[in-house]
């Protein structure tokens, strides 16, 4: 079958913050750049980011990148690579100021500087006192960022392919990446995007969980594509759970609610956080609060007829405070919980929020894999940035405001690497293999002809329930083990999905079936990696990991201070060392210590 082919210097998949930042670097350097995106760029999930972007500008309180580096390494529970973390925090000021020049409407101080506010986990003096490090544009930071970057890309003549679903990576016999196949949703036709460089910036896969704060588009498309193309996924057992998602809906209730005095209560009305974190109580860090809530529910003190959630109480705050200081919370609560928080308590549960793991990269944005005895060999022509990538700067747990920073710094870094490789003539348009589109065409053909198959929605729901039950906030050896068997069964069902609507034009059922192929790879990676990691670290908390002097908080550095690599083929695991050495010789490594706040 003849497949249309388009040729570019570079193809970028995804038009959220990381994709747009990378595209800008390429287009401004004069490279012919295509950006593929399944939704209009300014409808990417980056829009939902509220908290701000971290940078040690020191506009509101004294600050420097050494402190930011310490906070990020500690936040990562020492699983983050210290070279990549040093690179990110050092670049923070530059990328934020650039964004300011692109017209990003940051909040200002009285003397016109970018206003900065405190955020959990960020400190002065290596953990001593809170620091104001977050730069925000009201509560629409992500939205403003995406608009500034999009406008700039339009000016730089970036070519957008909107409502195109990327399907599969194209690799040659040597393993080099030569582009992607993609389906135009308007026609249903598959095309080849042949390029010297391919950058993935497809975001996370938060929809693998039943309870998720992520929008429906977050189906881990790039992560799934990479896994199917033989590339391992790094540290996929680490998912951040936000303590306060509305029960049953997932919609996020911002941390600010507890900052303003919101109290978590169990079924009997007890302020249970007093037992778990006597000092910080409801303001303890995300993972501590999430675990406390889960313990309450697991031990039968949950609220509601199914005793499956706890309650967030702001009834003691005045309606004026709620309306003024917590805009939007009342609307969310009324709409999704059917509760007016001025009069009643909001049902909440810990909810999947952010994917720390992803496609393994170095700090330059190059995708790196083990090869010939080396652990981090760049794949020719392949780069990744943002939530889909694992640099690794977040390690086992991400700090708030470091995700927008990640996508700016590594979007730009990936772009700079591509431009440099392009200008030096290193990147070449390599001949396409004859069968470049065969895998994608076979996937489409299978969906056309499948009979007696599985319903996409049912399989997706079964995957989400399995992940929620077996790889949630708290993890148990036997539950994980059973989870592996179950998710492999669900994956078998996902191979036989069937759709009723066989039309080609704007067939959303087909798109959802293709998305499920990506989700299921991420789900398998998460479950298998989590089952194997026999310790607690950051967001991965196991009931059977002993908290003792040798393994504080259950963290076992002797055996588990290493990155997981999961391969889809053979469902096998490999590991590689964490880089504890910063990038610069004159920067001291942050020494291993127990993570306490």
């Amino acid at each position: 079958m003849k497949v249309a082919k388009r040729t570019f210097d570079a193809v970028i998949v995804g038009a959220g913050g990381a994709g747009l930042r990378a595209a800008l670097q390429l287009s401004e350097a004069g490279m012919k750049t295509a950006v593929l995106t399944k939704v209009f760029p300014t409808r990417s999930h980056t829009v939902a980011a509220q908290g701000g972007v971290a940078a040690s500008l020191g506009n509101s309180t004294e600050d420097n990148w050494h402190w930011h580096m310490y906070d990020t390494v500690k936040g990562s529970d020492w699983l983050g690579d210290q070279d990549a973390i040093e690179f990110m925090v050092k670049k923070a000021n530059e990328v934020v100021v650039e964004l300011e020049h692109y017209g990003m409407p940051f909040d200002r101080t009285d003397n016109g500087k970018i206003y900065q506010r405190p955020f959990g986990g960020h400190s002065q003096n290596y953990g001593q006192t809170p620091v104001s490090r977050s730069c925000a544009a009201a509560d629409r930071t992500g939205h403003a960022m995406l608009h500034a970057l999009y406008q700039r890309n339009v000016r730089a003549n970036t070519q957008f392919f909107v409502e195109w679903m990327a399907m599969d990576l194209i690799r040659n016999a040597n393993g080099d990446v030569l582009g992607v196949t993609a389906m135009e949703m308007e026609t249903g036709e598959v095309s080849i995007f042949h390029a010297k460089a391919t950058i993935f910036a497809t975001g996370g896969a938060g929809r693998i969980y039943y309870s998720s704060t992520n929008a429906f588009i977050n189906t881990g498309d790039g992560v799934g594509m990479a896994a199917r193309a033989g590339i391992p996924l790094e540290d996929m057992e680490f998912w951040q759970f936000h303590p306060t998602g509305v029960a049953g809906a997932g919609v996020l209730i911002t941390e600010g609610v507890r900052g303003e005095g919101g109290i978590l209560r169990n079924a009997s009305g007890e302020r249970f956080m007093e037992r778990y974190a006597p000092n910080l109580k409801d303001l303890a860090s995300r993972d501590v609060v999430s675990r406390a809530m889960t313990t309450e529910i697991n031990e039968g003190r949950g609220a509601g007829s199914a005793k499956d959630h706890v309650l967030l109480d702001i009834t003691h705050l005045s309606p004026e405070t709620i309306n003024k200081r917590l805009p939007g919370i009342r609307e969310i609560s009324i709409q999704f919980a059917g509760v007016d928080p001025i009069k009643a308590l909001i049902p909440v549960v810990p909810t999947c929020h952010y994917q720390m793991g992803g496609i393994p990269t170095n700090y330059k944005g190059q995708v790196v894999v083990p090869k010939d005895g080396e652990k981090n060999v760049p794949i020719v022509g392949f780069y990744a940035a943002g939530e889909c990538a694992c640099a690794s700067v977040h390690g086992a747990n991400r700090l708030g405001t470091n995700s927008l920073l990640d996508l700016l710094v590594f979007g730009k870094a990936a772009g700079e690497t591509v431009v440099s490789d392009f200008q030096s003539g290193q990147l070449k348009l390599q001949p396409l293999p004859e069968d470049a589109a065969d895998v994608s065409l076979a996937r489409i053909a299978r969906l056309e002809t499948q009979t007696g198959g599985e319903d996409v929605h049912e399989v997706r729901l079964e995957m989400q329930r399995t992940m929620q039950k077996h790889a949630g906030v708290f993890r148990f050896a036997d539950v994980l083990k059973e989870g592996v068997t179950k998710i492999m069964d669900v994956a078998e069902r996902a191979k036989r999905t069937q759709i009723k609507d066989k039309s080609k034009v704007w067939n959303t059922a087909r798109t959802e079936a293709l998305e499920l192929d990506n989700l299921i790879e991420v789900a398998k990676a998460t479950m298998v990696s989590a089952e194997a990691r026999k310790e607690s670290r950051g967001a991965h908390v196991r009931d059977d990991a002993l908290d003792c002097a040798e393994t504080p908080n259950g963290r076992d550095d002797k055996n588990w201070l290493k990155h997981t690599l999961w391969y889809s083929e053979g469902n096998r695991l490999d590991y590689k060392p964490v880089n504890l050495q910063p990038m610069s010789a004159d920067v001291e490594p942050i020494a291993l210590a127990k993570r306490t706040y």
């Binding site: 829009v47 939205h143 949703m185 929008a215 997932g250 805009p327 709409q335 704007w506």
Partner: protein
């Protein structure tokens, strides 16, 4: 020109989970019964930025165009 229903349906995929949930309910209950005029109104509404659209649906911001009112009412149904 008649709008393609599949295209409009896909445009209901948004950047915010709040909207995805509202639209999921709307797609289930109402989408298949919309006439061509209503479909065109919806298509027009879908151009609105996500935060503004959510603000109109939850009532914290007025509906900016009379043409959108009927669809916003349907989206508000709980």
């Amino acid at each position: 020109m008649t709008l393609n229903r599949g295209r409009v349906r896909w445009q209901c995929r948004r950047a915010l989970l709040e909207l995805d949930l509202v639209f999921a309910r709307f797609l289930e209950r109402h989408f298949d019964h919309l006439n061509d005029g209503q479909l065109a109104d919806l298509d027009d509404l879908l151009i609105v930025e996500d935060h503004d659209l959510w603000a109109m649906i939850n009532g914290s911001q007025p509906v900016g165009n009379d043409r959108w009112k009927e669809m916003v009412e349907l989206l508000r149904e709980r």
